[in-house]
Symmetry: C2
Subunit: 550 residues, 2 copies
């Protein structure tokens, strides 16, 4: 018999609409037009204005020829303009390409070309960087310059259009475009590219809607929460928090730079309830002088990712009034898709044990349907013994559409019906996963992913380098920094300073190895470089350095 529940009960506009986070802002502006949406320095902007300006931006972009499937890039700090881009760009049907402002010109050039960028909105601070990139790329996007009053550096003269003028030319009542399908792209974000070129991760309206809500539920974010932007919005669209805040009618507190003083000031003066960041942000806050630190008017939720928070830092943050939650995810999962969901009974344990439990990455976010550690050969789950390694894999609605213009990488990433993270981990008996190593050669420094392969390729281009290998070295401040092992070419002379200068000229600064070690590099019998041995060596060197300093 036919299923009677599938008869005469079809989708129609009254009972089916594409999921999109744009609607969160529309609702916030309609219901709480006067509520403060954005704080930025002395600027306070309410939801009516935030929505009207986003619609103006969407309208201006449409007038400039942007529409469905066009890429609009943003090279911006955590400013109101960046928040507006998260709504205005998809409002005209275009796809937001937020660029990491710490990258070098060559990689930005690659991204602009690969993403088929048609328009770039750039902060005045990063205009020189953009111009350098534009000289290297074939793309010829329209350039709009955002001159933020909070930027106190020098301005480069430019003929490009001013962002405020551009927005002013748009219609505040713009009838923005709903996605035709909730599977339509909303954003593209490039990974650091561990092998070969960076990959463009394409996300969609459905996933952004679901992860934005997932954040609010995971973080128990009540109506009118106040969120401080220590996390760069160019990282996976700020983990979807630009959309989360509209869902709960919250307040964004912007921040151009991650410095201790404005962070503490915002916490105390703006009543911040939530913020996100790598452990480096915590270190920065805790190591601030007492004159900068402030008493908190309420408990603050801090969401951290990139590396497990160290015990000492956890204890110090707790004393200062913060509740730390450890998250994990990738650009391919819209940001955090795994949470160290805390059991209240664990808070009774000794602090070392708490830190051990908190260092685990955890369990799936509510909108992620599947998380497991599988043997990538057999695709079978590993034993839940906290010992057996496998590859961390994801499945669900907050996994990307795929890699832009890269069907081969997309196919490989989704082999066997799971997204392969490339991260190696274990599952503990209670089902919490923990990362143990990365199968991709990624170094995470201050929350930024660095491809060891990219650094190696740069070194190989130097005449003096015959063989090299770059691995992560533990670092108290940055979590990890790159450490380079080098075998010199016959008859060549080099030292660390020479190679450091070379890297500075060819890489973003944060990717430059802090340390260069010269001598034979250990290899396996088949000639493969044994990176694990190098990592051990780097760790030991660092330990010795620390103990000699203390």
């Amino acid at each position: 018999m036919m299923n009677p529940y599938n008869t005469d009960l079809d989708r129609n506009p009254a009972n089916y609409q594409p999921l999109t986070p744009i609607g969160f802002l529309e609702r916030a502006a309609t219901v709480f037009p006067d509520h403060t949406a954005i704080v930025h320095g002395s600027l306070r902007r309410n939801y009516a204005d935030f929505y009207a300006r986003s619609r103006r931006l969407g309208s201006a972009l449409a007038q400039a020829g942007m529409g469905r499937g066009d890429t609009v890039s943003a090279l911006l700090a955590n400013t109101p303009a960046m928040l507006e881009c998260h709504y205005g760009v998809p409002m005209c049907g275009a796809v937001l390409h937020a660029i990491n402002t710490r990258l070098d010109a060559a990689i930005i050039a690659f991204q602009l070309d690969h993403a088929l960028s048609r328009l770039v909105i750039v902060d005045a601070e990063f205009l020189p960087l953009l111009n350098a990139a534009l000289e290297l790329c074939e793309a010829n996007p329209i350039v709009i310059v955002y001159d933020d009053a909070e930027f106190n550096g020098p301005r480069m003269p430019t003929a490009a259009m001013d962002y405020e003028d551009f927005v002013a030319g748009g219609d505040p009542d713009f009838a923005w475009l709903m996605p035709q399908d909730e599977w339509d792209a909303i954003a593209i974000s490039y990974t650091s590219g561990t092998t070969g070129d960076p990959k463009g991760v394409v996300t969609h309206h459905r996933g952004a809607y679901l992860l934005a809500q997932g954040n609010a539920l995971t973080a128990s974010m009540a109506k009118h929460s106040v969120y401080l932007w220590t996390l760069p919005m160019f990282h996976c669209n700020g983990w979807c928090f630009p959309w989360t805040l509209s869902a709960i009618i919250g307040t964004h507190v912007c921040l151009r730079q991650v410095r201790a003083e404005p962070i503490w000031a915002a916490l105390a003066d703006e009543g911040v309830t939530h913020l996100c960041g790598a452990p480096i942000v915590m270190s920065l806050m805790i190591s601030a002088p007492d004159t900068v630190k402030r008493d908190l008017p309420q408990p603050v939720q801090f969401f951290t990712a990139a590396a497990p928070p160290p015990e000492k830092l956890l204890a110090a943050m707790k004393d200062a009034g913060f509740d730390i939650t450890h998250l994990y995810g990738l650009t391919e999962t819209y940001g955090p898709a795994v949470v160290n969901d805390w059991h209240s009974a664990w808070s009774e344990l000794p602090s070392a044990e708490q830190a051990r439990l908190k260092s685990r990455q955890g369990v799936r976010y509510l909108p992620l349907e599947g998380l497991d550690v599988l043997d990538p050969e057999t695709m079978l789950p590993v034993s839940r013994d906290g010992q057996t390694m496998g590859e961390v894999m994801f499945r669900g609605n907050v996994v990307m559409k795929g890699y832009f213009r890269n069907p081969k990488a997309t196919r490989e990433a989704f082999t066997g019906g799971w997204f392969h993270s490339g991260d190696l981990g274990v599952v503990h008996p209670d089902g919490y996963i923990q990362l143990k190593d990365r199968s991709k050669d990624v170094i995470i420094s201050g929350g930024e992913n660095i491809s060891s392969i990219e650094v190696e390729e740069t070194l190989y281009r130097h005449d003096a380098v015959a063989v090299c290998a770059v691995v992560a070295m533990p670092d108290e401040k940055w979590g990890e920094t790159p450490c380079a092992f080098v075998e010199l070419a016959d008859g060549q002379v080099a030292d660390g300073d020479m190679l450091k200068v070379w890297c500075r000229d060819h890489l973003a600064h944060y990717k430059v190895p802090r340390r260069f070690v010269f001598g034979p590099i250990p290899r396996s019998s088949t000639g493969k470089i044994q990176k694990f041995a190098l990592r051990d060596q780097a760790r030991e060197m660092q330990d010795r350095r620390i103990s000699s300093l203390t």
Copy 2:
């Protein structure tokens, strides 16, 4: 040019899964197996057991032949079995048909037939009612009897299978069925049927997932919230709260009967944080003797619907430590889809003004994409002046699939791309809607919808009744009660008591008119009964009665 974001970026099992609230329970049981999921009298059941029992139920149902598109009915109080049905029934692919236990046998018989019910899970208390219904209907469902330890009434002897035995025969590791499509039906709920037969509202997994999360966001429900079941789960699946609680790893506190003593006990002893109910529940709580009332250990959120909460009650509840939120919705919208989203500034206003603001139904829930008051002729929005009447209409993902086996009613309900609620209302300048009248002849008594037409049809079957009209009469306790106006047939004699007995024999008790008025019924020039005049008359009579009593 083709949209490059639609190329080689297709759905696959790694990045697309049907939305379903069943996954919330799977996650809760995996991550917090030991957390208390259900409290019922002296019973405390954790999430591991709740999940295992739900899987057993799903498995047992599958063994009994239930599968995709089959209807499983539940005639249950707010018990653990009813919660298990909300997961176990969809786990085998079947559709949950929760029956209002206050209905009479004839209407239940109609529902069982119309819904093509194949199995009924019935509380021992309602077995006599079910048996009476089964005698009237053609359906011949398997009957499973749930004998709840908290039911202290007499048991009817029965040969039907015991629920615990049935569940015990299922597999606790049952590989439950994901919906094939998130549009698959999850439940069917019958409306009171104001004209003609009751209509079977079909809801789907996608909507249940979204409204369940919408509840948590709307109610700012933090992790581990504790929810008291004063709202019957047979009303729109308890407004999706059976699923919401798993999403936030909360605790259900069950309640067989809505009585003041167990409510106050649960609030104080179980740390209840949230509950829902019609204003009658508040009255019941507030009017309880002081020996029954308890001090609350924390502020409690109370969500009310069905009628605007009166000022006096609001003030009394506030004094007792409750925060009242007014919701509005219909079975067709999974329960609440509209919320009186409160502005904190309003709390500074005089209490009469607060009550006036709170009496408005409000604005759209986050997962409802559209809410408006339209002129049903032109389908244009009415002026936002708080005066111009129109029909309240809904659009979005928490609007039903349609009416079961009733394409004509479905088509009519969705005319013009909006769901027509049948409720008349206005829009205030701030966008909040307010109901002003019902175009359907519904009387809401103690949170239950009563069709005036059904009561009239019953009266018309009495020989003494020539013409009759039933309207709502205000009632301090029940909100409204039915009031009947009757013109006697020539030569016939009757009084209120006679007709009341007649109605009792043919209607559920709560539908029986409290008052009968005899005499000529006002009609328009075209002969149409002027119900508005009768409503005025009923209101005046009631006012006089109240003032003569005080």
